[in-house]
Amino acid sequence: MKKWMQLALGIVTAIGGFFDMGTMATSAQAGASFRFQLLWTVGAGTLLVIFLVEMSGRFAAVSRKALPDAIREHFGFSFWLVPFVVLTLSQFLVLATEIGGICFALHLVTGLPIQLFALPVAALTWLFLWRATFSTIENSTSLLGLITLAFVVAAVLHHPPAGPVLAGFVPTLPHDNPLKYWAIAVSILGAVLSPYLFYFYSSGAVEDEWDRSYVGVNRAIAVLGMGFGSVISLAAIVVAAVVLAPRGIQVDDYHQAALMLTDAFPFWGFVLFAVSMAIACLGAAVEVSLAIAYSTAQTFGWNWGESLDPREDARFSTVYTGAILLASLPILLGVDPLKLTILAMAAEAAVLPFVALPFVLLMNDRKLLKEHANGWISNTVAVVVLLLSLVLMVVSIPLAFLGGGG
């Protein structure tokens, strides 16, 4: 029974890594511009991400090592240096985006300028990490994160037409504006297949002291946790398609996305949107800050762990402190959160092959994982992810500039 409490790790990973600022922005854009036609990208992304999360959890449970730790040990420092630097840079952009998301949500509710919130939000995020243990973070974030289910409730209340919704799960070519269509499709896949997501999950599994006996539970957590994130993202597309598309609203500003819930919840919709956004982004900010600190500490072999007192892992705690402080600067300087989001998602898509390749190689190390090494099904998915990530890497940044602005 205690093992099922670990579902919190799956939910927190999904809230932070799946339904975050990036997914929120792209879902709203997808629904507003192409109605249900892009649902398939979330569907496909979910399937792939379930496999990746399952693999990283299985790896951590069997080897008792998190990914950056094992990659440096097995492939050596010189090999790991480039992926590590690229990964850290992209995580930093994502962190800046999430801080921007929380600031934007506060701006929606109060009407005060976004920049004003940059430092207080950074301080609060930091305080939460400094004070809380890993299980407190897991449990509180996953519990608070349930509020994002508001999107699912709204989607059901709108009675979307079943035919077109189901048809959206089959990939089709757009009637017009193919550049924008593919730009959104790529950023949805980039937002869903966040590299820090499975890096974080494997460190979380080590924090929670998983062992071989968790291999089965891990599979269920991967499906349920990522399924949770997926359902909310799908619901957000449906709501945007029903609410924004008929009115011809294109989401080139987060203010327009904020109208999504006002039809289903006339009075509370606006606040509900802001609260969902703030919590999803806070969860993501916490997750990415930890992911940066985990991968740095593991790369250099420092003492690490969110459950330790900061005095016992001063370098680990300093890394997330510095990361949060630096990441609040773009918002403080007035960078547009939506532009930052698009850039961060393109960066994430570009980083994926660097971090996915060593991961897949490790998953096939029979000396390390024995009978728990990847079978042919997982490896088929792994090859699909690798090929897809190469395509994404090449097209993501040009498409973000050509089609992202809309």
């Binding site: 008792r64 090592k65 730790d69 440096r72 040990e73 097995h74 050596g76 420092f77 010189s78 240096l81 400094w130 250099f300 072999g301 420092w302 003492n303 690490w304 900061p310 005095r311 001063a314 370098r315 705690s317 300093t318 402190t321």
Partner: protein, 122 residues
């Protein structure tokens, strides 16, 4: 006779101290060339400078140049192999106390100058 593959089983592995505290990784290995026989593993090395040398000599020189601002007294922390207690699948354990070694220079400095200064941490 038990065999140890230095590059696969020792290099880059997590280093822990007597009490299991993580204190770094095996960043380098030093072999001693003896006139009369095969080389012998003299010590393991830890430190950013050791890592930099593995990437590029110039990076090593830059880091050496930065050292005058560094908290770390010894750029290369060498631990003689005689201090190695065991090499397992998970770590290399040393018979030292991490807190008293140069590997913890930064850790100690940050604890005293940053963590301890945070309100509520005393």
């Amino acid at each position: 006779m038990k065999q140890l593959d230095l590059a696969r089983d020792v290099l880059d592995k997590q280093v822990v101290d007597r009490d299991g505290t993580k204190m770094g990784r095996v960043d380098g290995l030093v072999l001693e060339l003896r006139g009369d026989g095969p080389p012998r593993v003299e010590s393991i090395e830890m430190g950013f400078v050791v890592l930099a040398r593995r990437v590029h000599p110039r990076l090593e020189r830059w880091l050496e140049g930065l050292r005058r601002w560094s908290v770390r007294k010894t750029a290369r922390y060498r631990v003689p192999w005689s201090k190695v207690k065991e090499v397992t699948a998970h770590h290399v354990q040393l018979d030292v106390e991490a807190l008293k070694t140069p590997a913890f220079d930064w850790e100690r400095w940050l604890r005293d100058h940053f963590v301890a200064k945070v309100p509520g941490e005393d």
